[in-house]
């Protein structure tokens, strides 16, 4: 946005965004369409789109400005669109639910914000290869970046998915920001008991406003996966930097492992659930896929606690820090090595040890679980005395190879289902949806 001073001056001159203007500077005139300003940069510079398409920033101060042609109408707000669309005949359809994120983002000067709307007709228009998946229903639940997701959003998404299956959907695709897509996938895995068909989360690492965006392929492959013969929550994203294959990752065992690359999503401690060929959409599933059965009705368990703490154990962490966690309903620790924390095993009641502080959390009824902060592997609390002390203090997790973020989501969910500490411990350690495996695979790097 322009500075208030500039806005006032423009108003005085009768100039609106979208008008063709001329700004004389030195011996030259910059002539073109007055554009809205992004928030960044010098709010005292006018952004002018020249006839070549280039934008140039010209300081208003000391320049002569002249309006040449009125053109502002094209920038006026369009009426808000309805958020549910069908492409193709109504009937047994796939639903695409949009929650926001890069996959749905595009500069939109009409509203001055990122436009969240995915409408089925323009989607199929933009990516004609989606036509083979018609009928497609599109619905926008909300539009937020995934770093802004909270357990409350997980509850809403789970409810929306149930509604879609109740309404005849044969599979559901969720367009989601990539930052916390792994968390949401885990949350949906726990929330949607007795799932009849696939729930496929997908996103984009490169925005759809560029020709190289991974969005079209990810949506195409997700649509193909949503029609396939399985009934789990998964994430469908590029398998590598090339546009040649997509992987399906089990919702409880997937991590965003690169900040920006197309291949960011990886199955941790397990093989991908399957793969999708973007040429033709053939889906290959591995033996852990559960067959779809449209007769199954979802048993919705979408209550989550919003008061769980996820803490990284680090050298130097002290009791004072741990004591502050008493305000939470549950705590998940990402421990070092086999699931360790500094407890000074030779002298576990010393000042340097956080064991007493952890013990008092557990004793006060707060469930505390341990997950490994190493990328992969299992919490093992029997090898070193450190582990034994932690297990004896009541820390949950011995033997679990869960991801720290999955463990966190499970804790939020368990607290939403149960209040009794014993039962919570039992839920936490019960392997569900592949979150804890019974044995570790050889051959994982």
């Amino acid at each position: 946005m322009y500075s208030a001073q500039i806005e006032a001056q423009l108003k005085k001159l009768g100039i609106k965004i979208g008008d063709i203007i001329s700004v004389q500077k030195g011996g030259q005139a910059f002539e073109g369409m007055l554009m809205p300003r992004p928030d960044a940069g010098d709010t005292g510079s006018l952004v002018i789109k020249l006839s070549t398409g280039y934008n140039a920033g010209v300081r208003m101060e000391g320049s002569k400005i002249k309006k040449i042609k009125d053109g502002g109408a094209s920038f006026e707000k369009k009426q808000a669109q309805k958020n549910s669309y069908f492409a193709g005949e109504k009937g047994s359809h796939i639903t695409l639910l949009s929650t926001g994120g890069t996959i749905a983002s595009r500069i939109d000067y009409k509203t001055g914000a990122v436009d969240p709307q995915i409408d089925a007709k323009s989607l199929v228009g933009a990516y004609p290869s989606l036509k083979e998946f018609e009928p497609i229903k599109c619905n926008s639940i909300f539009s937020i970046l995934s770093e802004d997701m909270s357990p409350l959003h997980w509850e809403k998404i789970a409810q929306a998915i149930k509604n879609e299956f109740d309404g005849g959907a044969q599979g559901v695709v969720i367009a989601h920001g990539t930052d916390t897509m792994g968390y949401t996938a885990a949350a949906l895995s726990y929330s949607l008991e007795n799932l009849p068909a696939p729930v496929v989360l997908t996103g984009a690492q490169r925005s759809p406003d560029r020709a190289s965006s991974d969005a079209p392929q990810n949506i195409f492959c997700s649509m193909a996966a949503a029609r396939a013969n399985f009934a789990q929550v998964c994430i469908c994203m590029h398998a590598s930097t090339s546009d040649t294959l997509n992987h399906l990752h089990i919702g409880t065992r997937v991590r965003k492992a690169h900040t920006s690359g197309r291949w960011a999503f990886k199955s941790i401690g397990t093989r991908p659930l399957g793969e999708v060929n973007p040429k033709g959409g053939e889906v290959k599933l591995n033996s852990s896929a559960i067959a779809r059965d449209m007769k199954r009705k979802i048993n919705l368990k979408n209550k989550f606690s919003s008061n769980v703490h996820l803490a990284w154990i680090y050298p130097g962490i002290n009791s004072k820090t741990v004591e502050k966690w008493a305000e939470y309903d549950g705590v998940v620790l990402a421990g070092t090595g086999l699931g360790h924390a500094p407890i000074d095993a030779a002298n576990p009641n010393s000042k340097a040890s956080i064991l007493p502080a952890l013990r008092s959390l557990v004793d006060s009824g707060i469930p505390v679980a341990m997950a490994p902060q190493c990328g992969e592997g299992r919490v093992i609390h029997g090898t070193y005395s450190t582990g034994t002390y932690l297990a004896n203090a009541g820390i949950i997790g011995n033997g679990a190879d869960w991801l720290a973020e999955t463990c966190y989501v499970k804790m939020c969910w368990a607290l939403g289902q149960e209040k009794d500490a014993k039962k919570i411990k039992e839920i936490m350690l019960r392997p569900m949806h592949g979150d804890i495996t019974s044995f570790s695979l050889i051959g994982e790097e």
């Binding site: 554009m35 510079s45 789109k49 070549t52 398409g53 280039y54 560029r210 020709a211 965006s213 090339s242």
Partner: protein, 598 residues
């Protein structure tokens, strides 16, 4: 006729939006490169419109393969990581040149994405920024008015292409380019060639300019009254500029006449033309081209061009006919090898008179009509014939981007791209051009002034030669570091050239080694005569310092008492002494000593 120029000059140092080093112009591609396979879609502009050039490229649905040498490319180049802020060094060069031509510099640089969907940019766009508009370059021959100066990313280098896929190398991707567009002021090809040369020379006065084959490119814009603006890309050799412009003028004139003739013949122009599969006529053909297509399951598509008799064979310029124009469109759209038309000799393609007759009958061709025919795989032949037929119905000179060929001709590449190619680069913040930044950019020395300086340092012949040498920036860095100007010029232009001709890889002799050799000489640690053997040794062991090479190979300078002692010991024979110690002793000192003793 009016013609304008667009000059693209590569800069060396780092890439424009990441910290990878820029590769040498003739960098060899290492064997073990990462390989990336990608597809591109179309994307709409900031104003919501898809550019026609992007649409055209997308309709070709090709696969792109990228080879990424790890020393010269990174995730920004492969479109896997957002760009860093703009390379300040390159920005300063652009500002310096803008100041030199007295252009109006923008107050805030806005980085844009220009849609490029032929795969030459993995992202599907080229980052480009307008730095200044207006100004003029003054040179001996006059003044060249400048339209704009931009700084942009170089594209990936093409390795190979076929109708289904194109292979590119990523080391060249993202190298900074200064793009200068002139006003369409050149009224003759000679003038344009002179202008291009003057701009090229002026750019060389910048200190970060890359030199060597392909580091500067000229695109030419030609428009004539009654014609259109046509942009011709990829002219490598300035000597061909004259032929290129003349051919383009002839082409546009001929096309305007052809359009008028077609209009005259048609009372009402059809809006589209149908095509048909004529495969059955050629089941036992002797035409290799057609039988090959049929054997591989392809199609023979043919169409009537009503009232087009004689038009397809009309010459535009040497060997190029109107038929070749249609053929260019067919090639680009479908990747076919070309088309056959009725103004050609059918026997050239071994099509029998009976087959030709049958085809005419099949298409209901009368003597005032013409036909075209394309034989290839159906998925290629179809878009190809549609494109050729659509082009035939265009009744004016279409605005196009064309590619220059090595004979001074050109062929259709894609429709002329417009303003809708542009979208703001949301990953890079706008850059405010402050007074401090403009000051930091410095002043460019004009070509004339630089020539005078060099001539006074090196004499007229050597001075002029150095002005045009690709070693000029290195030469200037050496003398700024205290090297003797004449000796530096001789070393760069003669000693190293002679070594290279012997087959020695002088690229292994780094700038550090050259700096060191001049500094050792200045400090009297080595002699002038030892330069050649030391540089030879350096190319063999580039990891060693010149000082240690001199020590290990007994090339350290001997002088003063030590030299006198040697002189006595060797018996005072000048010739013998020189042949034994000429590389390590200063000839002048020996002469002086010899004179003194005698």
């Amino acid at each position: 006729m009016l013609c304008g120029l667009e000059i693209h000059q590569r800069l060396e140092g780092k890439k424009l939006f990441n910290s990878c080093p820029t590769p040498l112009p003739d960098q060899k591609l290492p064997e073990n490169c990462a390989r990336i396979t990608r597809m591109l879609n179309t994307a709409a502009s900031e104003l919501g419109v898809i550019d026609s050039a992007s649409k055209f490229e997308h309709s070709r649905s090709r696969t792109f393969e990228y080879l990424a040498p790890e020393d010269f490319s990174c995730l920004v180049d492969s479109d896997e990581e957002p760009p860093t802020s703009i390379n300040k060094e390159a920005l300063l060069q652009a500002l310096k040149f803008s100041k030199h031509i007295n252009a109006s510099i923008v107050d805030e640089v806005q980085v844009m994405r220009k849609a490029v969907t032929d795969g030459s940019n993995p992202s599907g766009f080229q980052r480009t920024s307008l730095i200044s508009i207006g100004g003029e370059l003054k040179y001996e021959g006059g003044e060249i008015p400048i339209t704009s100066l931009c700084i942009e990313e170089e594209s990936a280098g093409i390795i190979s292409s076929n109708p289904d896929s194109v292979s590119y190398r990523l080391d060249r991707m993202g190298v900074p380019l200064i793009e200068i567009s002139t006003e369409p002021v050149f009224t003759s090809a000679e003038e344009a060639a002179k202008g291009a040369q003057a701009l090229g020379m002026a750019l060389r006065m910048l200190d970060k300019v890359m030199r060597g084959l392909g580091t500067i490119r000229q695109d030419v814009n030609v428009s004539i009254p009654g014609g259109a603006r046509v942009e011709i890309k990829g002219l490598q050799d300035l000597h061909l500029l004259k032929t290129l412009v003349e051919n383009e003028v002839r082409r546009q004139e001929a096309l305007a006449k052809i359009s008028a003739e077609i209009k005259k013949r048609h009372k009402k122009m059809p809006t589209s033309l149908p095509f048909e599969d004529a495969g059955e006529i050629f089941l036992s053909t002797k035409s290799r081209l057609i039988s090959k297509a049929l054997e591989s399951g392809g199609a023979v598509l043919a169409a009537k061009l009503p009232l087009f008799a004689g038009i397809l064979g009309t010459e535009l310029y040497s060997e190029k006919r109107f038929g070749s124009e249609l053929s260019d469109y067919a090639k680009q759209a479908g990747g076919v090898k070309g088309l056959i038309h009725s103004d050609e000799d059918m026997q050239k393609y071994s099509i029998s008179p009976q087959e030709a007759e049958a085809l005419k009958k099949f298409l209901k061709i009368k003597k005032e009509d013409a036909f075209i025919l394309i034989a290839d795989k159906k998925e290629r032949a179809e878009p190809a014939i549609i494109a050729a037929l659509s082009r035939a119905l265009v009744l004016c000179v279409p605005g196009e981007t064309r590619k220059a060929d090595e004979k001074g001709g050109s062929s259709f590449m894609r429709p002329l791209a417009g303003a809708h190619r542009m979208y703001p680069e949301t990953d890079v913040r706008p850059i405010l051009i402050t007074k401090e930044l403009l000051q930091e950019a410095g002043e460019l020395v004009s070509v004339g002034k630089r020539e005078k300086e060099l001539c006074s340092l090196l004499g007229d012949d050597f001075g002029k030669r150095m002005l045009r040498s690709r070693n000029l920036p290195l030469f200037e860095r050496l003398i700024a570091n205290g090297a003797d100007a004449k000796l530096a010029a001789i070393t760069l232009e003669q000693t190293l050239v002679a070594l290279r001709r012997e087959g020695i890889d002088i690229s292994l002799i780094g700038e550090d080694s050259l700096m060191e050799i001049f500094s050792l000489y200045k400090n009297e640690k080595i002699t002038k005569a030892s330069f050649e053997p030391l540089l030879r040794l350096c190319s063999g062991s580039p990891e060693k310092s010149i000082a240690s090479l001199a020590r290990e190979n007994n090339l350290q300078k001997i002088s003063g008492q030590e030299l006198e002692a040697l002189w006595k010991k060797e018996g005072g024979d000048m010739r013998k002494f020189m042949s034994k110690y000429g590389l390590v002793a200063d000839a002048a000192e020996i002469m002086k000593m010899a004179k003194k003793k005698n």
